[in-house]
């Protein structure tokens, strides 16, 4: 076989094969670990936050190719965002940035959103003052 056939589009494959931001952050400011009851995936996102901005993000994922690609892409996307911006983050951004996911795999992007939100919540719990200082008056909700 000369051509290569892939289950996912080239962007997803690229993020699966060479995931960005893979790993843990030693002195993370917020860590979220979530699981998908639907398929058993587990995703963990660690954040480094400074001056209300996400300075660094890392992930670890137990899950399928699109779960790994989704967490890779999600960590890429949120770096540099403010907490408030990050709170508005949705899985659709991941899907779009990945150039689409198979319908049955959309939940992987949802898991990435949830892991990020969980990490932010963890940060907020640890640093309630930071949120007040940097939120644009919007309530912080999960």
């Amino acid at each position: 076989m000369s051509e290569t056939y892939t289950l996912y589009n080239p962007t997803v494959m690229e993020h699966f094969m060479n995931p960005r931001n893979m790993g843990d952050l030693k002195d993370a400011d917020g860590v979220g670990e979530v699981g998908a009851a639907a398929c058993g995936d587990i995703m963990k996102i660690s954040l480094k936050i400074k001056d209300g901005k996400i300075e660094d993000a890392r992930f670890k994922t137990f899950g399928c190719g699109s779960a790994i690609a989704s967490s890779s892409m999600a960590t890429e996307l949120i770096k540099g965002r403010t907490i408030a911006e990050a709170m508005d983050f949705t899985n659709q951004e991941v899907v779009d940035a990945l150039g689409g996911l198979p319908p049955v795999k959309i939940h992987c992007s949802v898991l990435a959103e949830e892991a990020l939100k969980a990490a932010l919540e963890d940060y907020v719990k640890r640093h309630p003052e930071a949120v007040e200082a940097h939120s644009k008056g919007e309530p912080v909700a999960a």
Binding site: G35, A37, F62, C64
Partner: protein
């Protein structure tokens, strides 16, 4: 890059001589077997020969007991529903093993919606049917027992003789799905005491597009495909002549080659499992150990702390074609019901990979696979929060428990907020 096809369970290439035998039936001998002229009569003769070849593969008495369908799934549907509808007045109860293929399971579920009842007989941790439970499940209303010969996921070989004896004693016809064994293990319908047997040539170097149903003349069955009077009125629709001809030859070759096939794959199976066990930590073989209770082509593996699809994709990117019974890999997002039936821990079911060997595989293929798979496991564990948490003693291994930390399932339930399904 080396190409290693380790998914013979999904399909096999058509053998060149089988393809050669099929060729004339596309462009030249293209007649419809129902036609009464030269073009029809010629292919009718060819179908008869194929029926004889199929009968020989399973030691059936007569080619008149062989019916052609479109695939293994249709044969299973016909066996289950055809017998159920034919015996409706006798009773509306079926007995099946819990690890049958979805083509059997879902046919049964369809009947259940229409008022039939079904008892699913459990299997042990190796996937072998509980014979006492089977005997107890049969009632006077039971019109069919379905127990497959070999399981498609974990390769367990069922004790067919004992199953057949129980059915004979209770006077209930036995249907044996031989899709995962035909061409790779001896099959003898009389030794099995089988009233119905199904299989499909694309699993033993024959073409796709044809399934076989053996039916002992004493077993009552009605047609589920309605139309013309093809296949003695048992299956309407124009026969797929080239596939039937090719399938027949593939069956004939299988009879001759069987000892070779068993020896070759058994040797590779042992080497592959030994290699993986040595090179990959926290790996488990599901189903029986290689030997008399396991088909020589199949290895079903669970590698802990990593998930199946990632393993499969990385194998593929390294030229190794494998399958998986993990939920992430299936379109239905469900773990194989076979893995549930043998009580496999959720964590292990998620990390499932199925490797099925064939004649074209070599020792070099096996060694390459072991080496590559070990690297893949390391890479994915590097990405896995579970591996990290295991190393940190937060969760424990199922395969080799250390006594530290909580279970994966407990952890998964906690982080997902819902109990993990098995």
């Amino acid at each position: 890059m080396r190409h290693v096809f380790l998914d013979h369970q999904s399909s096999t290439p058509v053998r060149p001589e089988v393809f050669d035998a099929m060729k004339p039936f596309f462009t030249e001998a293209f007649g419809n077997p129902s036609s009464l002229h030269q073009y029809g009569l010629r292919v009718r003769d060819a179908l008869k020969q194929a029926r004889q070849q199929m009968a020989a593969l399973i030691k059936a008495d007569s080619e008149e007991e062989i019916f052609f369908t479109s695939d293994g799934t249709e044969s299973a549907n016909l066996a289950i529903k055809g017998v159920a509808y034919a015996n409706e007045r006798k009773g509306k109860h079926l007995v099946v093993s819990a690890t049958e293929h979805p083509s059997v399971m879902n046919s049964v579920e369809f009947l259940e919606k229409q008022g039939w009842t079904c008892t699913r007989v459990g299997v042990d941790r190796e996937g072998i049917i509980n014979l006492e439970e089977l005997a107890a499940a049969i009632t006077p209303q039971t019109v069919l027992v379905a127990v497959h010969h070999v399981n498609h996921d974990i390769g367990s070989i069922q004790p067919m003789r004992e199953v057949g004896k129980i059915c004979a004693e209770q006077g209930v016809p036995l249907y044996v799905d031989c899709e995962a064994s035909a061409g790779w293990l001896p099959i003898d319908v009389k030794e099995f005491g089988a009233a119905l047997v199904s299989f499909s040539p694309h699993r033993f170097y024959g073409p796709k597009g044809v399934g076989v149903l053996y039916r002992n003349k004493r077993a009552r069955i009605v047609s589920m495909m309605h139309g013309g009077v093809q296949e003695g009125g048992r299956r309407a629709g124009t026969e797929n002549v080239p596939a039937i001809v090719g399938g027949g030859l593939a069956a004939e070759i299988s009879v001759t080659e069987l000892p070779q096939r068993m020896a070759h794959t058994a040797q590779l199976q042992a080497r592959l499992w030994a290699g993986l066990k040595a090179k990959v930590s926290y790996i488990k073989l599901n189903g029986p150990e290689p030997g008399p209770k396991r088909i020589s082509t199949n290895l079903n593996l669970s590698t802990e702390f990593i998930e199946g699809e990632g393993q499969l994709l990385l194998c593929d990117l390294n030229g190794i074609a494998v399958a998986s019974g993990s939920s992430c890999v299936s379109k239905s997002l469900k773990v194989s019901h076979v893995l549930s039936a043998i009580g496999l821990d959720h964590a292990l079911a998620q990390g499932n990979i199925i490797m099925t060997l064939g004649m074209m595989n070599t020792e070099e293929d096996v060694d390459y696979t072991v080496e590559t798979f070990a690297k893949i496991a390391t890479k994915l564990r590097g990405m896995s929060p579970m591996w990290d948490e295991f190393e940190r003693g937060l969760i424990d291994s199922v395969i080799a428990p250390t006594g530290r930390g909580k279970s994966f399932s407990q952890h998964a339930a906690e982080v997902s907020g819902k109990p993990a399904h098995a």
